[in-house]
């Protein structure tokens, strides 16, 4: 979503994006001319008149689980967004019985919070497990 019109979105796809992504953009490119949606989400810069790089993870109930906002010159990391999405999905599927430690990826150890784990995380989780 940006402050560009849908016509500009089309031109960008036709003239540039289509040269990078073969089948075009696989999701809707939304237009927020005037920045009303961006203002509600706290990412519209009313001095520059543009949206900043805000990214929100919204769960199936419409609840915001996480967000990240960057200033314009620095791009995001798509694999980190996917990692977070997988972690939120795992936690949701566990019914809230599991939590994912720092650096978690699918297949890695999760934590099951409870009285027995208090003060004992060091026994099951090592700092080197944070890295890939």
């Amino acid at each position: 979503m940006s402050i560009d019109s849908v016509f500009v979105h089309k031109m960008w796809v036709d003239h540039e994006i289509s040269k990078m992504v073969k089948k075009g953009v696989p999701y809707p490119m939304l237009s927020d001319v005037g920045g009303k949606v961006g203002t509600a989400y706290g990412v519209f810069d009313d001095v520059a008149g543009v949206e900043t790089r805000g990214r929100f993870i919204i769960d199936p109930d419409g609840v915001i689980q996480g967000y990240e906002v960057l200033t314009p010159p620095v791009g995001r990391n798509v694999s980190e967004s996917i990692r977070q999405l997988q972690a939120f999905q795992h936690v949701r599927n566990s019914g809230g019985t599991e939590a994912t430690p720092s650096g978690w990826r699918p297949g890695k150890l999760t934590l099951k919070p409870g009285p027995d784990l208090v003060g004992n995380v060091w026994k099951v989780w090592k700092t080197e497990m944070e890295r890939d």
């Binding site: 940006s2 989400y41 008149g49 543009v50 993870i57 919204i58 769960d59 109930d61 314009p72």
Partner: protein
Amino acid sequence: MAEEIKAGCARPTGGLVGEEPPGDKPTEAKEEKKEVKSMIMIGRKAPDFMAPGYFQGKFINVHLSDYLGKWVLLCFYPGDFTFV
């Protein structure tokens, strides 16, 4: 002759002639506006919105609530053709 501007990631925008340039002290009215700026809090409902969109050759209208039951990544960015 129009002044050439440096190309950057933030898209330059127009404004009224004689308008205060950015960086000046905010007026009281501007400060009031900022208090109601964001409705965002993690763990709370995302504000629903309706927005026109471009999707695979068609112009469409999208409500965020169309996606209830699915996971959504909502991404904002400064503008088309802004390099990053």
